[in-house]
């Protein structure tokens, strides 16, 4: 059965060269989820799609074919590219890698499309505030602090919503044992496949992390506006994601870590956020 899709809102998550002039695309589409496309001739010197078929560019794609890999028929821009300057591009790679690793091919998740798009938009807004002005590519240290916070926040919210949409959402606002609402002034032990518990001694068991009720609620309400809640959310999300990633580390995270080491050398050990 040949499938034909016309002018579907899409983002390219990843693009890899294929044969001499073509590319294999991992595409994230609004209605059909992640699909694999072959873009024939896109790498020809005079191809008009060359610059268009790039990550973070809102696109309308048409494709057809059967089986697992479809053929790209047409592509046009629908809006201008989300510019991720400087460090923010690494965050862009990160969310793309999470999508590729955690979302199955051809498994539609309609709500997740706008989650992805809004995260890109949030990162692009940060990018344009931090790197404002045509010539300056260097944000001030002050801006850098606020930037890192907002960037981390956007990533945590993306992770949380991504897990929810693919069916691994975390229980955050109720005690998993007693069903009572989480109280902000209590500490909880978090058991991944169950949720927060107050049971005495549970925190000492392996695979259980301690997290404050305040941080749990902050993540549940998607606020994350204190350093502490952000740090706790990062810790919790890291553990949750790692179980779903099957032990294979995220390459974009590895890259970001080496990059931060590099910048720390420059700033002199004063970057506390990552």
């Amino acid at each position: 059965m040949t499938k034909r899709v016309s002018l579907q809102p899409c983002y390219v998550l990843h693009r890899r060269s294929y044969r001499d002039t073509s590319a294999l695309l991992d595409v994230w589409s609004a209605e059909f989820g992640r699909v694999g496309l072959v873009a024939r001739g896109v790498r020809r010197p005079r191809s008009r799609l060359q610059g268009l078929i790039q990550p973070f560019q809102p696109l309308l794609l048409s494709w057809s074919g059967r089986g697992e890999l479809y053929t790209l028929a047409k592509a046009e821009a629908c809006g201008s590219v989300f510019r991720l300057d400087g460090d923010l591009v690494f965050s862009g790679f990160y969310i793309n890698e999470l999508m590729i690793r955690l979302v199955h091919r051809e498994d539609p998740h309609p709500g997740l499309y706008s989650v992805y798009e809004n995260t890109l938009r949030a990162l692009a807004v940060l990018s344009s505030t931090a790197y404002a002005g045509a010539q300056s590519r260097e944000p001030s240290i002050m801006a850098l602090d606020g930037l890192a916070f907002a960037e981390q926040r956007a990533l945590r919210l993306f992770e949380k919503r991504l897990l929810e949409h693919i069916g691994y959402g975390l229980m955050l606002d109720r005690d998993a044992e007693k069903g009572a609402p989480v109280e902000k002034d209590r500490n909880y032990g978090y058991i991944l496949d169950r949720g927060p518990v107050t049971q005495h001694g549970v925190a000492l068991q392996p695979g259980v992390s301690v997290i404050s009720g305040r941080s749990l609620l902050s993540l549940a309400r998607e606020e994350l506006n204190t350093e502490e809640s952000l740090r706790d959310a990062k810790h919790l999300m890291r553990i949750a994601l790692d179980t779903h990633l099957g032990g294979k580390p995220l390459q974009s995270r590895r890259l970001l870590i080496t990059f931060k080491k590099q910048s720390r050398r420059f700033i002199g050990g004063d970057v506390g956020h990552h």
């Binding site: 590219v81 400087g86 690494f90 793309n96 890698e97 045509a134 080496t258």
Partner: protein
Amino acid sequence: MSSSLLIDRLVEALRCLPGVGPKSAQRMAFHVLERDREGARRLAEMLLLAVEKVGHCTLCRTLSETELCKVCSSEHRNRALLCVVETPADVEAIEQAASYSGLYFVLMGRLSPLDGIGANEIGLDALGDRLDKGEVKEVILATNSTVEGEATAHYIAEIARSCGVKTTRIAQGVPLGGELEYVDGGTLAHALVGRREL
């Protein structure tokens, strides 16, 4: 399939070349066997020799049969200028097009975390060591104008900054002889951002 096993294997082997499908591989095979056995022998010898002898320049990482490539060992190049490119083909392109007198550093790729290519895979540790030595005064970033090329440029800019080396990025914009009407939106936006005073 032809009647000869050896010809089949030759056709198959020729297909490792870019742009060569079964049909053109067969044409090449028949051509050398029917008309140009001498040329084929030369080609075979050169292939063997090149594969055996050509390695990487220890300084710039480009393909070279000597420890230092021609550019790196030349006395007429400006050693304070270092142009970072993705592939040896990029070096050739710049050499032919521009009157560039500095040295090169060839990444042999670009940062691409989703393909598992990180900083060390493209030799950024070696580049950092080289910039640390202080001979290089300016790094020109000539990576491709793709998301990954930009990420690579940003990463290298950070290394250069930590070593106190000036960094520049090659200009992006309207091609020579290009008409604005036909330039794509992204390029035009870049061209406007990167405008300069006359």
